[in-house]
Symmetry: C2
Subunit: 239 residues, 2 copies
DNA sequence: GATTTGAGAATAGTATACACTTTGTATTTT
DNA sequence: AAAATACAAAGTGTATACTATTCTCAAATC
């Protein structure tokens, strides 16, 4: 409910065609950042008032969000922010691990592509976020780091699917990163460094091993957090 | 241009909420079946006349199709059926092969799920289509066969991604299957049989080997077809 | 003759109005 | 008092009207 009364009203003469895009990008961001919690109602009229436009572009934005799986449309009722499906987490981890491996392998197989400049940039951003202990920036930079690897691998199908997975994970990570002690992010920085080295050396097998270990590391941490949290949640639930 | 003047007009009092769905499903089908060729313009007004409804539900259907990557929206111009990106084919084949393997492996790992009834059903449909030499039915049944395997594997992320890949491939297959001689589909039937046996036996490694061979088989055939076709196309192009 | 400019047509983007469904509540009935 | 029915409110689904953009084609200019 952070921005209930906030008015994101644009200058009334915004460029034609930007309406849907603006609403889509803004709400998507808010959902992924958990500003809008799962289950929150998204009322077309209220949103149109907030953004200072008619219902039509708002509706189209909600449609796109639904296609992304970020919202759930209840027919003839309203749209709500999609729930996080904790039951699907094992499947999620499996898919995430696979894509970590495939993309990192693929990137290493592209040795001829030269130095991994983009990946390097993202890694630096990640390291800065870790130094600043900015959990949100870490999540963003981590996502961009791995997407950059996927892009170097050069398979658009993988990049698209992987991006979706990483986005979906942002909401879970958002819960998780806040509980970090300082040790793990630094370890991730080092693991990222190793991955870059393997990629630039064109060492496919080592890249694969590192990706697998990295994924296992993250999965284990999240699972541990969730186990801890489940106990807390049970205690807190019935106040 | 097959259905230019066809009127898909529904009974004017169709159920509320079905409009977008109807248009989406119909056009999607027509795109995948190549009734609507890549590059064909999709005019909102013409479509609304054809389906006997206003532009709004048509627009929303086109939006969903764009989200699926089946259409391309040219801002302030019109929407066209997405082109088949032949340059992306190697990446496509790689992703397809990976998903064949992962889903078949996953299905075999679910031995406890009992007999693979759904998969069996799809296989029978595929065999019937082969007997009838009905290329279109073959493509459909083949897709459903592999989706059934993915569903048994039980990872919704894989199922979704794989379904998308198979759909995208339907348009290519549609070009390809028409040139089939009789031998290959029968071979696919046998390969499918072997996969079912491996899955029911819970033999993960054999399932993987079979999936890989099956994928390689299909990829090789399509590539051969495309190589042939490229020569033809060059000859035909400049009449 | 080629190129630029401008009017008009076509078509997408947006706003608004209306109708239908669902849901919750109050009133009636048993 | 419990259940059923009717009614009102909220909010979506669809239709339609309006506006801005882009393209086309022709006329004017260089």
């Amino acid at each position: 409910m952070a921005t209930t009364t906030a008015q994101d009203v644009q200058d009334p003469a915004r460029t034609r065609g930007s309406g849907t895009q603006t609403v889509y990008a803004t709400i998507r961001q808010e959902i992924l950042a958990m500003t809008l919690e799962p289950g929150s109602p998204l009322d077309e009229v209220k949103l149109s008032e907030r953004f200072g436009m008619s219902r039509t572009p708002v509706r189209e934005a909600l449609l796109r969000l639904s296609a992304d799986g970020l919202t759930t449309t209840l027919p003839n009722r309203n749209t709500i922010v999609a729930a996080i499906d904790f039951a699907a987490l094992p499947a999620y981890f499996e898919a995430l691990t696979l894509m970590y491996r495939v993309t990192t392998r693929g990137a290493a197989g592209r040795r001829s592509a030269g130095p991994a400049r983009d990946i390097r940039t993202r890694q630096d951003e990640f390291a800065r976020a870790v130094d600043a202990q900015d959990a949100y920036a870490m999540i963003e930079a981590n996502r961009e780091f791995h997407v950059a690897i996927a892009e170097r691998a050069g398979n658009a199908y993988y990049t698209t699917f992987f991006s979706r997975l990483l986005d979906e994970g942002r909401r879970i990570l958002r819960l998780y990163y806040s509980t970090f002690d300082d040790r793990l992010p630094r370890q991730y920085v080092e693991e990222h460094e190793d991955m870059i080295m393997a990629i630039e050396a064109g060492d496919v097998e080592r890249a694969d091993t590192l990706a697998l270990a990295h994924a296992a590391q993250i999965v284990a941490q999240i699972q541990e957090y969730l186990a801890r949290d489940a106990t807390n949640a049970r205690d807190i639930q019935n106040i």
